[in-house]
């Protein structure tokens, strides 16, 4: 029997704003299944987001949802979580929102290891403003602000999260809708700051300019270029070229921020 998403969707808010072929619907459905699978009470779930296509997601979900300013999703989420640690806080945003304008909040949320789950939707482009290059746009790719090809170096979001101290880091793609759900569950259950980078296609903003016009073709590209982490670790550098690992890339246990604070100041 088909899964019934309606109990987590707000009546009357669909259709969503995403373009045909956008990968974000796949992410939203995996996210709903993950939260449902954990049996969480919707009244305790808080979803925050910044600005951009990804950041419209919380508006569709029947939870406590906070659509904030550009890049500030994690800063608002941190305030919510510290003020009421009982709430289950999920922050989300796109590659530009989280790692450009929100980059400072991202690395410091990682550093604190606060118990928030952060989903970064990486479609390699600023979609909502119409296709400008972001910190993850591949070198040489075209964007409206890179008419000669992008000359910038790229962030590896998962590596950035690990380097900054996140205690759970995973990567997946919209091709991997089912494994994505499992990874999201693991991230949501993890005590501490967890990051899931989700590679997604933006046919409108990125695909059209980079000869990847077909949404299905973009998903195939994800399939062909992603490698499960167990296999990745056995590969030579030559074999790794142009590809990226997916799965749980990093998982450690460290004291969680609010618990550590409470213990330290005598609140617990």
């Amino acid at each position: 029997m088909a899964y019934d998403y309606s109990k987590y969707l707000r009546a009357g808010k669909i259709p969503h704003i995403w373009c045909p072929g956008c990968g974000y619907g796949i992410i939203m459905k995996s996210m709903i299944r993950a939260i449902d699978g954990l049996g969480w009470d919707k009244n305790e779930v808080v979803m925050t987001s910044g600005i951009g296509c990804a950041s419209r997601l919380p508006g569709y979900i029947d939870a406590n949802t906070l659509h904030t300013t550009h890049g500030r999703s994690l800063a608002f989420a941190t305030g919510v979580k510290v003020a009421n640690p009982k709430l289950k806080v999920i922050a989300m945003g796109g590659d530009g929102d989280m790692t450009a304008i929100g980059g400072n909040h991202f690395i410091h949320a990682c550093r604190r290891n606060i118990d928030i789950t952060c989903f970064v939707f990486n479609n390699y482009i600023y979609g909502m403003t119409g296709g400008q290059y972001s910190p993850t746009t591949p070198k040489g790719s075209r964007a409206t602000t890179a008419p000669y090809g992008n000359s910038d170096n790229q962030f590896d979001i998962a590596q950035l999260a690990m380097g900054a101290g996140a205690t759970f880091v995973a990567r997946t793609t919209t091709y991997h809708a089912v494994p994505m759900e499992k990874l999201m569950k693991q991230a949501l259950e993890h005590k501490g700051f967890s990051v899931v980078e989700i590679i997604a296609g933006c046919p409108t903003g990125y695909g059209r300019k980079n000869k990847l016009a077909s949404p299905a073709g973009m998903i195939e590209w994800q399939k062909d270029h992603s490698v499960a982490i167990a296999q990745w670790e056995k590969m030579s550098d030559e074999e790794k070229a142009g590809k990226f690992p997916i799965g749980v890339l990093h998982e450690v246990n460290k004291p969680e921020y609010v618990e550590a604070y409470d213990a330290n100041v005598g609140l617990s």
Binding site: T68, G79, N84
Partner: protein, 377 residues
């Protein structure tokens, strides 16, 4: 029973006021000359079950302050000019989404890094117009350490009652000087909590105002699941591109403040009844002005002081009484004439406004004001 009296620094008194008002959450970023507020609350909040967090930057501090309030806690942040500039983005969010909180701006010299350790009053217009877009504004301007405490309580009350951010616009002189302060006992000062919904959660409309223009606000996690967005939105909280509705909602928000002028605007009038010369001054400059008024009165000059404790909304009604009545109006301020513009707007040339504008990081000396009083036009 004798009142409990403490000898406090102005910034410490803000903390006493915040705690009295029921503040249990502070998010901030260190900046001179406001840092003592953060330092004191970092120590005090855990003792009452509250929490303190030092964020990665001023934008995050403002964001987290709003987040704390959305989670149901009375929330405070403190900063100074450069930090206030950075806070503007999320302060604007706080206005549009109607999230109560208090922002303390301990004004220093500026613009930019300016004169970090010296006083200033140059952020008056920033407080009113610093973020983009139109919105109501409440900003309070204490002149004494006792008022730092009392006006912080009032700032929280106004924030909670009208469901909006409120600015305590103080300055380095008041923030750092020390005076004896009476610590109020519970019940001495009113403490107002925001209206929370009592309806069935499925009927809750987070932006549907009641008769007073204010909608009840639910804490995240209290069973009222709703959406908050910085986009213009409908009564149900969801975005709308309907410009007419956006305009109506902005006007409704502005009216929350405009319609309650008498409650929000507090002005201290000193020797104004028979005054031929009126001084308009706030914050630490009002102290210099009081001294000058006393000196002038000792010489038989009929001068009075109009001292707003609420600078925004501007005390139009209080000031307008003197238009056409006094012969001269003098506005001393530690900026190059910001409130003087507002005084001019209200007085409409009856009489023309004379300014004493100073941005040299020194308080305006009472003698300077006295000389202006005696010097004629």
């Amino acid at each position: 029973m004798a009142k409990k009296v403490k000898f406090l620094q102005g910034n410490e008194a803000v903390c006493e006021g915040a705690l009295y008002a029921g503040c249990t959450f502070y998010a901030g970023y260190p900046i001179t000359p406001s840092t003592e507020v953060a330092e004191v609350l970092a120590a005090r909040l855990p003792k009452i079950g509250g929490r303190f967090i030092q964020m990665e930057d001023e934008l995050a501090a403002m964001a987290a302050t709003l987040g704390g309030s959305i989670a149901g806690k009375k929330s405070l942040t403190a900063t100074s000019g450069p930090g206030m500039s950075l806070k503007m983005e999320n302060l604007g969010y706080g206005y549009l989404t109607e999230v109560p909180c208090v922002i303390v701006n301990v004004m220093r010299g500026g613009p930019s890094t300016g004169l970090p350790t010296g006083p200033g009053q140059s952020d008056v217009m920033q407080a009113r117009w610093g973020t983009h877009g139109d919105h109501p504004c409440i900003a309070l301007t204490p002149s004494t350490v006792q008022e730092q405490l009392n006006e912080t309580v009032r700032a929280f009350n106004l924030a909670e009652k009208y469901r909006m951010p409120v600015i305590l616009l103080t300055d380095e002189i008041i923030g750092h000087m020390r005076e004896a302060v009476e610590i109020p006992e519970p019940g001495d000062l009113p403490v107002i909590d925001r209206k929370r919904p009592t309806c069935d959660p499925k009927d809750y409309l987070p932006y549907k105002p009641e008769a007073d223009g204010v909608a009840p606000m639910a804490d995240f996690g209290s069973g009222y699941r709703y959406h908050i967005t910085g986009l213009n939105h409908l009564p149900d909280g969801f975005p709308s591109n309907d410009g007419k509705l956006a305009q109506a909602d902005e006007i409704r928000q502005q009216k929350k403040v405009d319609d309650n002028y008498d409650e929000i605007v507090v002005v201290d009038e000193m020797m104004c009844d028979d005054a031929e010369i009126l001084i308009f001054a706030f914050g630490s400059t009002a102290r210099s002005a009081k001294e000058a008024v006393q000196m002038a009165r000792a010489e038989g000059i009929k001068v009075g002081l109009l001292r707003p404790l609420t600078i925004w909304p501007f005390p139009d009604k209080h000031l307008a009484k003197y238009a056409g009545k006094v012969k001269r109006v003098i506005v001393p301020e530690m900026n190059l004439g910001q409130t003087a513009l507002e005084v001019e707007r209200v007085m409409k040339g009856q009489p023309a406004v004379e300014g004493i504008f100073q941005i040299d990081s020194e308080p305006i000396n009472p003698v300077t004001i006295l000389n202006k009083i005696k010097g004629g036009k």
